[in-house]
């Protein structure tokens, strides 16, 4: 083969190998590390897997936040006004966490139907609502209407 062509072939192969590497790495890591969002209604219907990392969210039910004394464990209930999901979390809650506000939590659903959260995200300013929660609420409102 002509040296210039051979070199071009080599460069093209290198780039293809790079692109293949990117696709391979990305799809492998994506399979392991993506978290699907479930609104409380779907969890209540048993659509969410138990023991797998998922995200769940909705509005924090007023009056549901309970702190255990002498520890940082807190329990609260999130709702999309169709179903309710009890959540347990140990640690410091975000500044904007409050009853009647939207949250999204990442964690694992246990056998007894409690969501063990490892991370709780609240909105970032007073007027902002996490899109997943907004979507879940909209859908819940649609189903309630007819």
């Amino acid at each position: 083969m002509h040296p210039v062509r051979r070199q071009r072939l080599f460069i093209v192969l290198l780039i293809i190998a790079g692109a293949g590497l990117a696709v391979g790495l990305a799809s492998y890591a994506l399979r392991e590390n993506i978290n699907l969002f479930y609104p409380p209604a779907e969890i209540a219907e048993g659509k969410a897997p138990v023991g797998k990392r998922i995200r769940a969210g909705g509005m924090v039910l007023a009056g549901s936040v309970q702190r255990q004394p002498e520890s940082l464990t807190v329990r609260f209930v999130v709702t999309d006004y169709q179903a309710e999901l009890p959540v347990e979390y140990t640690g410091i809650l975000p500044d904007l966490f409050a009853e009647g506000e939207g949250v999204v939590a990442t964690g694992v659903l246990t056998e007894d139907g409690v969501f063990q959260a490892s991370e709780v995200l609240a909105k970032h300013d007073e007027t902002y609502m996490p899109p997943e929660v907004q979507h879940a609420l909209d859908r819940s409102a649609e189903q309630a209407r007819p």
Binding site: A17, L21, A29, L30, L72, G91, A98
Partner: protein, 672 residues
């Protein structure tokens, strides 16, 4: 009246940008030098008009003119003056005006510092930048008017700036980022102008090198500032979250880094020409994509502005025009570019190609992780999120490979390196860095840790291999000082920037492994211990700020009975936004460790607090490294070699083509 004048100035700037897009281009087609010369005054006029607009908006903020909608939304009479000033870019409309101003500034900078370039080239570059200006200003005027009024009933007081943004870091973080994002438009404009003019030789690469480096410096600083801000203000001590908007700034940075390196090959050797053009288009497109992701409200992120579909649509259409148009031009023109390849498998060209492939692969993996949730949502596959585990799993191995190649690449020569000579150069560095890497975790942490070994081996390898090359370059010098002075500034810049990268690597690796944190329940007089430090909460009190009231803790930190620091973590409630509490951490910074105390939330009605204690070794190295990288970039960008002389052939012999490989003494311009 004043806000209307600002709006009017903005309309004038749109007209000037239109003229800048059309008149010099017409001059190029007609071969009319007079029309081409109009580019510079038009660029100046555009900047003047946008500056007037920005100044009038700032005046509205300083004068508490709450009849202007964004002043009412983002300011307050009690807001300290410095934050009234920065509140200008605290929301979507104002920050877009800042973006437009930065664009106009870069345009004028190119117009001013390109006096030595051929007139038709300047006209083309400025016409492209004018077209981009038209797009951005139209976006501002038609979808996000910063001067919109709340008449006839303006509110008596404003809703105040988001407390998260009331911080010195926020004063410079957005402008820095914008200078970076928009700065890549210069490399883009040069690339498009080169395609347009059919002059796709090494010279356009040389002209755009300092501009690309300058944009990269700003982006580096902007990202580092953002990370630093997140660390002390937002993230409970986290410094990088792989948040979609962080990724939006990181992707152009990665692609821009690849671009800087491939520009070096195009400039020095006249190779990779089409590739470099493509990379310039890609880098700027990623900047625009970043803007789309942030502005359209499609993301769940700290940076999300209120959603408005028309804005997202506008930017998406603009992105489509920019990418589609430039790729079409590329498809039409690039095949005409003759391509040579006379370098061997072991050469600097090849190693820089590896650098480019790895950086691009990293960019694409970050891109896919960022866009996957959007795609899945659009295709109704479900609401997914892609978290840090994904990004860490793909990004870290790629960077490790990149760093391993970096040390080899620096020691290679253009065209061909002899394997045994290369081995002689880098082997001592390789052995020494292995030794440092294996010994370090024992010496510092008292135990083996594979992550620390890999981090330290790679960081030491980058530094030692760079120094090995430096020593090799100085071997004929009479003294090291004279030798150093004879090396080109661009080479010094490269050495410094690579050492900066190693510093950041050390910071990232060691902080990730050795950080310790603990959430504890504390009342007045409580003790806690973390990483050998003792924490004593001596006092809980209330402090009145200018526009907030804070719960303040006083925490005495000591080490083996010796006092280290007194920290004052606060929980603030802002008067205008009582629902939004702010955590203000108490931090004792240090070169080798930070101590970080934050008040979490009140327990039992405020008698006790959940307190987060953290010990973060080497965390400052992350940002220190970024600073060093920027200094390196600055030194390289100021190299006189890049300022085009009239006679390009008479180029100073520089370090790269110095005594080590006397074969390449001619400049790329001569090789054609």
């Amino acid at each position: 009246m004043i806000p209307e004048l600002g709006f009017f100035a903005l309309i004038l700037s749109l007209l000037l940008a239109l003229a800048l897009m059309v008149i010099p281009a017409a001059g190029v087609f007609a071969g009319n030098a007079l029309l081409m010369r109009a580019a510079r005054p038009l660029a100046a006029g555009q900047l003047v008009m946008v500056s007037i607009s920005l100044a009038l908006l700032t005046a509205a903020f300083l004068a508490d003119d709450f009849s202007v909608a964004i002043v009412a939304a983002q300011s307050n009479t009690l807001l300290p003056s410095v934050y009234k000033f920065t509140a200008v870019w605290g929301g979507h409309e104002g920050s877009m005006l800042l973006w437009v101003w930065v664009m106009a500034l870069w345009t004028l900078a190119v117009a001013t510092f390109s006096k030595r370039l051929p007139l038709d080239m300047v006209a083309r570059v400025l016409a492209v930048m004018g077209a981009l200006g038209v797009g951005f200003i139209a976006f501002l005027l038609f979808t996000s008017n910063p001067f919109a009024r709340l008449l006839p009933n303006p509110p008596l007081d404003g809703a105040d700036l988001n407390p998260l943004l009331q911080d010195p870091g926020m004063v410079i973080h957005p402008p820095m980022l914008y200078f970076g994002y928009v700065g890549f438009s210069v490399a883009f404009a040069f690339a498009i102008a080169a395609l347009w003019g059919g002059r796709l030789d090494a010279t356009w690469a040389r002209w755009s090198r300092p501009w690309t480096t300058a944009a990269w410096i700003f982006l580096t600083l902007g990202i580092a500032l953002g990370s630093w801000w997140a660390y002390y203000e937002l993230g409970w001590g986290g410094w990088w979250f792989w948040d979609p908007v962080e990724n939006a700034s990181f992707m152009p940075w990665l692609a821009g880094t690849a671009l800087m390196h491939s520009l070096a090959v195009t400039d020095k050797r006249g190779l990779f020409k089409s590739w470099t053009v493509l990379l310039a288009i890609f880098t700027f497109s990623l900047s625009l994509l970043g803007a789309f992701l942030v502005r359209s409200g499609v993301l769940t992120s700290v940076h999300s502005f209120a959603a408005d579909p028309s804005r997202g649509l506008f930017i998406l259409a603009f992105l489509g025009v920019v990418v589609g148009g430039s790729l079409t031009l590329y498809a039409l023109r690039a095949p005409a570019v003759a391509s040579r390849s006379d370098f061997s498998a072991l050469s600097r060209e090849m190693l820089l190609l590896v650098n480019n492939v790895l950086l691009l692969v990293a960019t694409l993996t970050v891109l896919s992780g960022t866009l996957f949730p959007l795609l899945a949502d659009a295709l109704e596959l479900g609401k997914y999120s892609v978290g840090p585990p994904y990004f860490n799993a793909v990004f870290i191995p790629l960077m490790a490979v990149l760093l391993a190649f970096l040390g080899v690449g620096i020691n290679t020569q253009w065209k061909r390196s002899r394997g045994n000579e290369l081995r002689r150069l880098v082997l001592p560095a390789a052995i020494a860095s292995l030794a440092i890497g294996v010994i370090f975790p024992w010496a510092y942490g008292g135990a083996f840790h594979i992550g620390v070994v890999v981090t330290m081996v790679l960081a030491a390898w980058v530094v030692l291999a760079t120094l090995a090359d430096l020593r090799h370059k100085l071997r004929h010098a009479r003294g090291w000082w004279q030798g150093l002075r004879r090396l080109a500034p661009a080479y010094h810049g490269m050495v410094i920037a690579h050492i900066g990268l190693a510093i950041t690597v050390v910071g990232v690796g060691l902080t990730s492994v050795y950080s310790e944190e603990q959430d504890v329940r504390m009342v007045e007089g409580s003790h806690a211990e973390l990483a050998g430090y003792q924490f004593l909460l001596t006092d809980l009190s209330v402090r009145q700020g200018p526009n907030f009231v804070a719960q303040r803790g006083t925490v005495e930190v000591s080490h083996n009975g010796r006092p280290v620091a007194t920290l004052y973590p606060e929980k603030r409630s802002y008067h205008a936004r009582p629902g939004q509490l702010m955590t203000e951490a108490g931090i004792d910074p240090g070169l080798f460790r930070d101590i970080f105390v934050a008040l979490g939330e009140p327990l039992e009605g405020g008698e006790a607090w959940a307190v987060r204690l953290q010990h973060k070794p080497f965390v400052r190295w992350i940002w220190l490294g970024a600073l060093v990288m920027s200094i390196g970039g600055l030194i390289a960008a100021l190299d006189r070699r890049y300022r085009p002389a009239r006679r390009e052939a008479v180029d100073r012999a520089d370090a790269q083509t110095g005594p080590r490989h006397p074969v390449v003494t001619s400049t790329p311009a001569e090789q054609h």
